[in-house]
């Protein structure tokens, strides 16, 4: 009889532990972001035509030209992409080379977007079927990748870049250049 009671307490303890686990997990903020599994791997081969006349297109070879870069995934139809524009401009002003991929966009829309929000991009590739987005494991716009001089993805920033993200991205870029 004594042993049975111990058994019952064990069941209660297991149940309480489960409850505690649920409480812990449920109280954590929900994280909807899907991290790319390509971090630490080279950017797969691709070649995109130019999204606008004033800038050349983008290929994987451009990302492996020896200098670390920021690769910005954006679209003219994406509201947060407009919100991050001043901070991309700030990153460029502080010496970052930024190349971009425009997702599912028309040349005239991209041109109008750049006209309105500024153009910090050295190259802009047009990704009409989100193919490059899938290649690098990006799951939305905007996203910004740090790519080192050998074309290896070193860091992924999901969502719009805010003021507080600028120093962090510059730091990641510096690390990628070492």
């Amino acid at each position: 009889m004594k042993r049975l009671r111990w058994g019952l307490w064990a069941v209660v303890a297991v149940f309480a532990a489960l409850l505690a686990l649920f409480a812990l997990q449920l109280s954590r903020p929900k994280d909807d972001f899907v991290q790319s599994a390509m971090i630490g791997k080279p950017v797969p081969e691709f070649a995109l035509p130019a999204a606008v006349e004033i800038r050349p297109g983008l290929s994987s070879a451009d990302l492996a030209d020896g200098r670390p870069k920021l690769l910005n995934i954006f679209a003219s139809w994406c509201v947060p992409c407009a919100a991050e524009a001043p901070y991309l401009a700030e990153l460029e002003r502080q010496g970052a080379t930024i190349v971009a991929v425009a997702i599912r966009d028309r040349p005239e829309d991209v041109a109008a977007f750049l006209e309105r929000y500024g153009n910090p991009f050295a190259r802009i590739g047009a990704d009409d079927k989100s193919e490059v987005q899938f290649l690098i494991g990006s799951s939305g716009v905007p996203e910004t990748f740090v790519v080192d001089g050998k074309g290896v993805i070193r860091h992924q920033h999901i969502g719009d870049i805010r003021e507080s993200d600028v120093p962090k991205l510059l730091e990641k870029l510096r690390e990628a250049g070492e």
């Binding site: 599994a37 947060p80 966009d105 989100s130």
Partner: protein, 166 residues
């Protein structure tokens, strides 16, 4: 809700001005004039509500000619997660990105890839989360092992009780 109230949320959630971003219009806003203005504003807002202006990728909504391949595509698409609307499969979702993923699935099947190769290709890029099909991995094996363990324990308990009674 006015559009200006919607935008900060959209920025936080990384959503484009999409289907859900369309402002709700008070259809009967007191006077007919107000209703007329509201209707006019709704019509003006409609172009803004577009997610993007490109047509869907060729195989986003187009089935494959070979029914066997299309059946494989359907089965696979039912078990791949839409990354933009994460509780839907890419077969269920109308998000442009889901359409582009369906295009990937169908064109890769046509090119001769097997369904599981396509799933692995996506898992290589997005992790296990992109697949709805449970896999036994170093992180998930307890989920598969635990029912077996509990079953064995239950058998032992029953066996002991029966032996005691006998």
């Amino acid at each position: 809700m006015s559009p200006s109230l919607v935008v900060p949320d959209l920025i936080r959630d990384r959503w484009p001005l999409g289907r859900s971003g369309r402002p709700a219009v008070p259809a009967f806003a007191g006077t007919t004039l107000l209703a007329g203005i509201a209707l006019l504003m709704a019509l003006l807002a409609a172009p803004v509500a577009a997610q993007d202006s490109l047509p869907p990728a060729p195989y986003a909504y187009q089935q494959l000619d070979d029914p066997k391949l299309e059946a494989q595509a359907q089965a696979l698409m039912q078990t791949l997660r839409c990354l933009k609307c994460q509780s839907q499969s890419i077969a269920d979702s109308d998000a442009p990105m889901a359409g582009d993923m369906r295009h990937q699935v169908r064109s890769r099947l046509m090119a001769g890839d097997r369904p599981e190769e396509i799933r692995d290709w996506l898992i290589d890029r997005y992790g296990d989360y992109v697949s709805y099909e449970p896999r036994v991995t170093s992180a998930t094996w307890p989920l598969f092992a635990l029912p077996l363990v509990l079953f064995v324990v239950a058998l032992l308990v029953v066996a002991r009780r029966l032996r005691k009674r006998a």
